[in-house]
């Protein structure tokens, strides 16, 4: 077939991807974005199948069918609370594909110079993103312990592995025929992916998932250079910059640098805090909480990862409805790093049919907190911890928080008094105007809803 035709299709495909990202900017056009992305992908696949280099179709057809058979249930059966896990496993698949193509290309042509450099980058990023995403999946799915695991000299060790891998990759650029070096290089990339995620804890997952997204894109991009394919370069660069910008936003929302997230080891303070003696807190029953909420004029609900774990989003929506019916002004305050991936809380609340204009970003809601009657914190901890503002020695010092402490009454739904993910005690719980609501978020909110609906 005339190469002009597939090139033209590739250009339309690239334009569709760009339009997809453009339309993604607002909810009103976002579904069009998906369609545009799908058209782009379809054109890319059709154009590639039409290329004269592609002779045998059996394996491709089989691969497309098997991949779809895995992909459809993965997308349709996953509960919305598991979206971070799905993203991680999907990322692992994409990165694996990219890495294996790099490997196949390497053994096919043993290229020198620029092409080999691109292949080295592609396989390095591909394989390390593959194992790192699998590890992230394991941690999110709680198949692996989700707390950070650190050991002495960890950063030095990890960096050492990466430096050796890069050095081997560099030597391959000049002496590609040494396939043993290539195998060691691949092995080191795989190992580095695992080591990279071991010290990462749940609170850092949003940043890391976004970063891995970026790596997967850059790997596809490097493949574009190796195969001299502009479509791959464009799509990969779009994905690479998207992941990077999201991880920068996440870092900023925690007042931490990249290096700190990747090499910081957030969990080391746990032991130091555990020894503290228990301070008194005020607690309340669902009935008492219902009475206070029913009398309030304005309520701000602050969800965190605990809401996702307890699957409490639907009950919270019921609470929202019943309070609205009573004339209470109800809003949701969303911290950028609440949950386990960027925007996690928004998706869960949207799933529960909370209208999205009720989901307010941190900068916009903080000004209103002082005028708010009740701040209801559901399964969130560090993102409302005033220590971030008051205590310069705190590990979360400087992290922007939702100013729940400013509201007239604070209610915190929590399983128990254990410190949050970062292992930092939260002085919000000990304030005079704070009520602790101990219990499972879902059943506790159900209790409040029941009480509110029975007496009015």
């Amino acid at each position: 077939m005339n190469p002009g035709i597939y090139q033209a299709l590739y250009i339309i495909s690239a334009a569709s991807f760009i339009l997809a990202l453009k339309w993604m900017s607002a909810p009103a056009t976002s579904r069009r974005a998906v369609i545009s992305g799908e058209i782009g992908m379809l054109l890319a696949i059709v154009a590639t199948l039409l290329r004269q280099e592609v002779i045998s179709y059996e394996w491709i057809a089989a691969g497309l069918i098997v991949g779809s058979a895995i992909g459809v249930p993965l997308a349709m059966l996953m509960p919305m609370t598991h979206v971070p896990q799905r993203t991680a496993i999907s990322q692992a698949c994409g990165a694996l594909a990219s890495a294996l193509i790099g490997t196949a290309e390497y053994f096919r042509q043993l290229p020198h110079g620029f092409t080999m450099g691109a292949l080295v980058l592609e396989t390095l990023l591909g394989f390390l993103t593959f194992t790192a995403s699998l590890m992230a999946f394991g941690k999110l799915q709680e198949l692996l312990p989700s707390r950070p695991i650190t050991f002495r000299g960890q950063n030095f060790f990890n960096l050492g592995i990466l430096v050796i891998a890069v050095a081997l990759g560099g030597s391959l650029v000049f002496h590609p025929e040494n396939t043993i070096i290539f195998s060691i290089f691949v092995l080191l990339a795989l190992v580095f992916g695992v080591l990279m995620i071991i010290p990462i804890g749940g609170a850092d997952m949003p940043t890391v998932i976004a970063l891995l997204n970026s790596y997967a894109g850059l790997s596809a991009c490097a493949m574009g250079f190796a195969l001299d394919n502009k479509l791959l370069i464009i799509a990969g660069a779009l994905d690479g910059s998207s992941g990077l910008i999201l991880s920068i936003i996440m870092c900023r929302a925690m007042n931490r640098s990249f290096t700190n997230v990747l090499f910081g080891g957030f969990g080391q303070l746990q032991a130091a805090v555990a020894g503290q003696e228990a301070k008194p807190v005020r607690s309340a029953s669902p009935d008492e909480a219902a009475a206070i909420l029913g009398d309030a004029r304005s309520v701000v609900i602050i969800p965190g990862y605990g809401m996702a774990v307890a699957q409490a989003q639907h009950k919270i929506r019921e609470l929202h409805d019943i309070l609205i019916k009573r004339g209470v002004d109800v809003k949701f305050a969303i911290h950028p790093v609440a949950g386990r991936m960027p925007g996690h809380m928004n998706v869960l609340l949207a799933e529960a049919d909370v209208p999205y204009d009720k989901l307010i970003e941190m900068e916009d809601i903080n000004g209103e907190m002082a005028m708010t009657d009740v701040a209801l914190v559901v399964g969130a901890n560090d993102i409302v911890n005033p220590a971030a503002l008051n205590d310069p020695t705190s590990p979360i010092a400087g992290m922007p928080i939702l100013d729940a402490y400013k509201s007239r009454t604070i209610m915190v739904i929590k399983r128990g008094m254990s410190p949050g993910f970062a292992g930092i005690d939260n002085e919000l719980y000990y304030m005079d105007k704070t009520l602790m609501l101990f219990g499972d978020a879902k059943s506790f909110v159900a209790g409040i809803v029941k009480e509110l609906s029975s007496n009015h």
């Binding site: 992908m41 045998s56 691969g63 997308a75 994409g94």
Partner: protein, 97 residues
């Protein structure tokens, strides 16, 4: 091959990506990640090229086949779940009767 041209394309696409993504509301960050994750499965193009070649070695065939499966999984599940999520984002619903 003209690498220089490729680098131009990369730089321009990356800048365009930065500008477009910056405008995305934080409300949609999760679907955005799913969408870009699905777009990254463009590596399926490479996978097709590798496994469809005329005299591909067995190694190429096997690696290519696994790559097609993996990329397709990423692609299909990525697009489907993005749409599933976006379907849920609604403005205030009309008053119930």
């Amino acid at each position: 091959m003209n690498y220089e041209f490729g680098v131009y394309v990369f730089v321009l696409a990356a800048f365009l990506g930065f500008e477009l993504i910056r405008k995305v509301s934080p409300l949609l960050h999760t679907p955005l990640m799913s969408l870009t994750n699905a777009i990254a499965s463009i590596s399926v193009v490479g996978a097709i090229l590798v496994s469809g070649e005329k005299d591909a070695s067995t190694l190429s065939r096997v690696l290519g086949f696994i790559a097609v499966v993996a990329a397709t999984t990423n692609l299909v599940s990525g697009f489907l779940i993005t749409d599933r999520m976006l379907k849920m984002f609604k403005k205030r619903e009309p008053a119930k009767k």
